[in-house]
Every structure is written in C-alpha cells, then in structure tokens.
C-alpha cells in the first residue's frame, strides 16, 4: 500500500467546527484536483456539539487508492493543524505522530513560545504558524455541511482560508491555484500563503517536503 499522508485538524466544537471542516474538505478537494486520491471525514468520535470542546477533523491524501476506508480516525497523523492555539495546553496534539511530522498552528505568538507547550516537540520535522485570526477573524458557525450535506455558507469564508494557504505552502501537497478555486475568501488565502512562518528541524524525512 502506498504511503497515505494523514492530516488531523484540531478545533473547538460549534464555534470553530465549520472552519476546521472547511480546512479538511477544501484541502483534500484541492489535492483531488491534482489527481491524488483523498478522503475527508467529519468528526464522529469526539463531541462536536458542545461549545469549545476539542474535536478533530480528518483528511487523507495518497498517490494511490486509499484502502482504509472504514477507519475514519487518523492514528498516525503526519500533519496536525490546530485551528485554536489554546488546544496545545489541553491535548497531546502530537499523539501517534511519526517522527518528522508537521504542526501548523493558528496563532500570532512566536514559534518558540508555542514550543514550550509541546513537550514531545522532538518528534516534529517542522512547525509553522499563521495568524489566521488576525488575517480573517471570521468564524462561520454553520452545520449544513456536516455529514455529507451541502455547504450553504460557502467553503473557506473565515479563518479556514489563511490556514489553507499556509498548508498549501508548507506541505506542498495541494497547489494554491487549486485552493483558490474552492475557497470564498481568496485574498485571505493568499495572505496566509505569504505570511506563514516556518521553523524546520533536523528530523525532516526525505519523503516529505516541509518548506516554503
């Protein structure tokens, strides 16, 4: 089986649920446009209906057909995206991550300050921060797109857009041009692409391109 890149998006229930869903859905959709095989899942294991409770969204990207279609949780996430930075204090966000993974945080704080809250940061291949709250600041609250429904509020109207831009630059798995076809707020996506800060560690693996 070909290598499947697992992406886990951590967010908070209800208030930022839609934004994280947009990150997982839009990024995998953009990768699909480039001929990759993708899966994206909303959350069923955590409790997404409680305000502020930490929940996850999942996406998988692979060059070949993904066989593990009955498992919707990512046991070994290669990329972890954190939509709300306080989550690093309450959850071991790098749980299950293989060495050399990537962590993307939506924060305006410095990378060194965020690393204080990540005790197992030696697993990381790279860490990136983007101030999505400062760029967009909009948090759409809408449940119409969960569980396979049609997203009436539009994809990537809020803080998801700068996060997607940052992911496009740092992971290199989906092109910015393809994400621009999906998201509503293209200007915020461009700003996220340009303003992402990245710090690389020596552990980065050859099969991944964490850069920008």
């Amino acid at each position: 089986m070909a290598k499947v890149t697992e992406i886990t998006v951590w967010t908070r229930g209800v208030v930022m649920d839609k934004e994280a869903r947009d990150v997982a859905n839009a990024f995998s959709q953009a990768a699909k446009m480039e001929g990759k095989f993708v899966q994206a899942f909303d959350n069923y294991e955590d409790l997404p209906d409680r305000v502020l409770v930490t929940t996850r969204k999942y996406a998988r990207i692979s060059d070949e057909e993904i066989e593990m279609k009955y498992l919707y949780t990512n046991a070994h996430p290669d990329v972890v995206v954190i939509v709300e930075p306080t989550i690093v204090k309450g959850i071991n966000v790098l749980k299950g991550m293989p060495e050399g993974g990537l962590l993307i945080i939506n924060t305006n704080r410095s990378i060194d300050y965020m690393l204080k809250f990540i005790p197992n940061a030696d697993l990381l291949g790279a860490i990136a921060t983007v101030d999505a709250d400062g760029i967009s600041g909009i948090k759409t609250v809408d449940f119409s797109g969960s569980e396979g429904g049609v997203d009436t509020a539009g994809i990537g109207a809020g803080i998801a857009a700068p996060l997607l831009g940052a992911m496009a630059k740092v992971t290199g798995m989906a092109k910015k041009e393809n994400i621009a076809k999906i998201v509503t707020n293209v200007a915020a996506m461009e700003r996220g692409f340009n303003e992402v800060k990245i710090q690389k560690f020596r552990k980065s693996r050859a099969e991944y391109f964490w850069g920008g």
Partner: protein, 109 residues
C-alpha cells in the same frame, strides 16, 4: 479522592461526588478554556456573586486566607463571573498567556 461505595450499592461514574466546589480527579474540563478569569484580591469585596453565578461552582471561599479560590481544573472559561462581578475584580486573560494550568487529557473531552 475516590469515594468508597459498597459493592452492592455501586453506581456509574459521576453519580455520587463530593460537592463540586473543590478540585476533583476525573472532573477536568480545563482544556475547554480559551479565556481565564483573573481575580484582583484587593478589589474583591467577598460578595460571593461569582460563587452564585458560576454554573459549575468553580469559585469557593477560602476561609483561612479569606479570599476567593478558583477551581482551574473545572472552569470552562464561560466568563459569566467576569460579567457578573459588581466590583470589577475579575478580568479576562487569554489562557495562553499563562504557562501553568496545563492538563493534557487522553480523551478530547
């Protein structure tokens, strides 16, 4: 701090607890919090409005030190106490400003 219940009277977890005014094992929801209430003990008049207003009884009175005590493990950062405080002794601070109060849970909630 588990309570000893006889075998024949066993009940599910959470059915019997000490009154939730003090920190308890397993009653940890501090990872829901984005904003933390910070108390100014000089401004505090000990009116107990925060104690009454808090939906989760996270404020209690420490009789020895004669000041309000905050249950940081159970507080979810709803900010009701901050809005209700008549003496303006409580203020909201981003949780990430503090390096203490880190509780990493195995399950997300």
């Amino acid at each position: 701090m588990a309570i000893k219940v006889p075998k024949d009277r066993e009940v599910p977890f959470g059915a019997i607890t000490p009154a939730p005014v003090k920190q308890q094992e397993l009653f940890i929801t501090s990872n829901w919090r984005i904003v933390r209430p910070v108390i100014d003990h000089d401004k505090c008049t000990r009116c107990f409005t925060c104690y009454i207003a808090c939906p989760d009884s996270c404020w209690s009175f420490n009789e020895k030190e004669e000041k309000m005590e905050w249950n940081w493990k159970f507080c979810k950062g709803c900010q009701i106490c901050i809005h209700e405080c008549p003496a303006d002794a409580l203020s909201a601070a981003p949780e990430l400003d503090f390096e203490d109060g880190v509780v990493r849970l195995e399950k997300p909630f």
